[in-house]
């Protein structure tokens, strides 16, 4: 039970290390880095590799942004498995990510209650 905390920490940390390498070595902006990681998550799921990673690392794999690509791809592929090519399309309209909905909702709430502060 507790080993999942260790794997979550290590795997989550390592995904962030990849992100930092893209920042500092490849000199990419945060936006570019995040897009690359999302696409990577999506491709890994295409090869069926991301779900085992989630089984191994729990939140270490579901919390980094890569899981966003995985969630969308997984939904699309599940539909495609059921309905073939049409499923790829319909799947795209069904899949959602709790990350987006939560970000929209909390973003809206924050805009009501908070103001930006410029202090260090």
């Amino acid at each position: 039970m507790l080993s999942i905390f260790v794997t979550a920490f290590v795997v989550g940390g390592l995904i962030c290390v990849i992100g930092q390498l893209l920042f500092d070595v490849a000199n990419l902006t945060p936006a570019h880095t995040l897009c690359i990681l999302v696409v990577a998550g999506s491709i890994l799921d295409g090869f069926g590799l991301y779900e085992p990673l989630i089984d191994f690392a729990g939140a270490g794999a579901t919390v980094p942004i890569t899981s966003f690509g995985n969630a969308l791809t997984h939904g699309a592929m599940a539909e495609a498995e059921k309905h073939g090519f049409v499923g790829v399309l319909t799947g795209m309209f069904e899949v959602t990510s709790s990350g987006i909905s939560a970000a929209i909702l909390f973003g809206f709430i924050a805009s009501v209650i908070f103001r930006p502060k410029g202090k260090v």
Partner: protein
Amino acid sequence: MMDEKKYAELESKISPKPPLIRNLFTAFITGGTICLIGQGISVFYMTYFDFTERTASNPTVATLIFIAMLLTGFGQYRKIAQFGGAGSAVPITGFGNAVISAAIEHRSEGYVLGVGGNMFKLAGSVILFGVASAFIVALIKTILVKFGVVSW
């Protein structure tokens, strides 16, 4: 007049490089800690609610973004980011921070054009590439399955 190439040499000699090892280490620690907290939250949801390891990730992500909202609103997320770099940008909290900070910032232009129009200024590209790559990957996989190259 100096040429560009010579100047680039001089400039890169003087400008300090990002301290790579330190940055990688802090990114690892920060990212790892956020995931660790995420795991704690998901164990909480599994223990007290009807969520399995699989389904607990949804409320976990939502909770983390809620925490990110508080940290962003109180001006703390920026400080974590200065320390952690990618460690705070890569987890879903970083995505939340991008959306929430833009929403707070553009409140002064009103809710419709300001908040609504600018919320995804930074994070929109992540959604675009997530959805587009999901479509392409699912399509390729479906084609490959139809031709019998791989199975589901």
